[in-house]
Amino acid sequence: MFYAILCYHAEDVVGCWSKEDDDAVMAKLAVVQEKLAKQGRLGPVARLLPTTAAATVRGHGEAPLVIDGPFAETKEQLLGFYLVDCESLDEAVSVANELSIANPGGAHEVRPVGLFRPGTGPT
């Protein structure tokens, strides 16, 4: 079974890293990822772009409510995530809308992915 490990950090602190700091952290993470990949246990890895690039789709149907920024309702829990290849934000929003129609309530956060590695683990 895959276990999702979600990375949290203070975004404004990360935003203050110099390129050297950032590269150093990514290099150290790559060592861990490589070990897991060699063992055939690494699923997809994604680094999300900052929350300022996010939009949230609430409601669904003909006029879903699209809110700028990430979704900040602490009473809602992260239940799962999709990785979908889209040409534009418009397309991503319409996919989120379809998902909302299939599963109403809650919200779907659209976060552009900055880095993606497909992984080597079981499917």
């Binding site: 404004d12 602190v13 203050c16 700091d21 900052p50 300022t52 920024g69 418009d90 880095l115």
Partner: protein, 422 residues
């Protein structure tokens, strides 16, 4: 990262919020800065021992405020009467501190802090210097280096700016919606000035000045977190990210300028581009266009083209047309002419810029562009005249040498293609 690097990042990122709150308490820039310094010293001692606080900004505000109040108390003892009124005003601040931090109006603290730096009485160089000193916390030495001036000259510039701001009085009332929008516009323009100061560096200066671009991007991200639904702020962030993405490709080993069409696109920073594209996409959904968005959309079209030949000049022409309507300027028309030359040919482009001759008679880019169009039309003698004029109008020797080199090459290419077609 080491502990110290983490503390540095945490302090840098907390600085605008903490300093903004301290400025609100003490209503004095000097006191607020001293209080923040004091809190940073304590953080450097305390955090490695006790671990990082849950909310670094709140910690710094709390500790800074107490340190400054202690200072007031100490000074008060040396005076015959304690300044009770000063102290009692601050008494209830502590209880509401945590609440205020969560409250969205801490946006106004940061906006006020940024706004103070772009006071309309200050010339733009002082606005930038003050913002880098106060909001970003760069040392005078760092700022002096970035501006390529001496440290004492920069010290004077910042002191003069602070004195002017102090004399003009600080705006402490909570701004209304209209005023907030005005301030946001002013602050956005100031951040773009910081960016341009770094971006306009020439080859040899890039390592010194690029940090200004990083700082401007950090500030616009901060602004965007505070105002997540402002399409023009998204546009500005996108514009800066897309332009800064090209930094590694803009100069050759000798420090000479490499034009956009000749840049090695594999050197462009794809992470910056991805973020810039995501932001301009999001801004456009608001259907509320503005000049930053239009410029970012143009930068996005360049970023999306894998090769220079793939550039969507028709769209770029349309976007410059929109920009002309929003912000009429002969320089924008001149830029548009470059796109027109690609889509409708040099004749149409030349016709577009002819009426600008009077207003741009002292602008060397005008003659450079005009020369290039004339050259494409085979009017070599006229082109040469325009190029000579451009070189005479260059602002720096480096600019002149670049233009000369570029124009020499154009002339050479033209003679090649002419002989090839014979």
């Amino acid at each position: 990262m080491t502990d110290l690097a983490w503390i540095n990042s945490a302090i840098t990122s907390s600085r605008p919020q903490a300093l903004g709150a301290l400025l609100r308490y003490f209503r004095n820039l000097e006191t607020a800065e001293e209080a923040f310094q004091e809190a940073c010293l304590k953080a450097l001692k305390n955090w490695p021992e006790n671990g990082p606080p849950r909310d670094p900004a709140a910690w710094l505000i709390f500790v800074g405020r107490n340190a400054a109040i202690d200072g007031v108390r100490r000074r008060a003892r040396e005076q015959p009467l304690p300044e009770e009124d000063v102290l009692s005003d601050l008494d209830d601040a502590e209880s509401t501190l945590a609440e205020r931090l969560d409250d969205s109006h801490y946006r106004d603290d940061i906006l006020r802090l940024l706004f103070v730096c772009c006071h309309p009485d200050l010339p733009s160089t002082q606005q930038i210097a003050l913002a880098l000193r106060i909001v970003s916390g760069l040392t005078v030495k760092q700022i002096a280096r970035a501006f390529l001036v001496g440290e004492s000259a920069m010290e004077q510039r910042i002191t003069r700016a602070k004195a002017k701001v102090a004399a003009a009085g600080l705006p402490f009332e909570t701004p209304g919606p209209i005023e907030r929008a005005e301030r946001l516009t002013t602050v956005a323009a100031m951040i773009y000035l910081v960016f341009n100061e770094g971006y306009s560096a020439s080859g040899s200066e890039v390592p010194v000045r690029a940090p200004l671009c990083d700082e401007a991007i950090r500030l616009v991200r901060l602004l965007l977190r505070l105002f997540p639904s402002e399409p023009e702020i998204m546009g500005l962030a996108a514009l800066m990210l897309l332009q800064h993405a090209r930094i590694a490709a803009r100069f050759d080993a000798e420090g000479e300028i490499i034009l956009l069409e000749d840049q090695d696109r594999s050197l462009w920073n794809q992470k910056s581009i991805a973020e810039g594209l995501a932001l301009i996409d999001k801004a456009i959904r608001h259907r509320n266009p503005g000049p930053y968005q239009a410029q970012a959309a143009i930068a996005a079209l360049h970023a999306r083209a894998r090769r220079h030949e793939d550039t969507d000049w028709v769209q770029i022409d349309l976007l410059y047309g929109a920009l002309e309507l929003m912000q009429p300027s002969p320089v924008i028309t001149l830029n548009r002419a470059v796109a027109v030359a690609k889509t409708r040919g040099p004749e149409a482009a030349l016709a577009l810029i002819e009426p600008l001759a009077d207003r741009l008679s002292g602008y060397f880019h005008f003659f450079g562009v005009k020369g290039a169009f004339l050259l494409q039309l085979g009017r070599t003698a006229e082109a040469r005249t325009a190029f000579d004029r451009a070189i005479a109008l260059a602002n720096t020797p480096a600019e002149a040498s670049h233009i000369r080199m570029h124009l020499d090459r154009l002339l050479k290419e033209n003679s090649h293609s002419q002989s090839a077609s014979l």
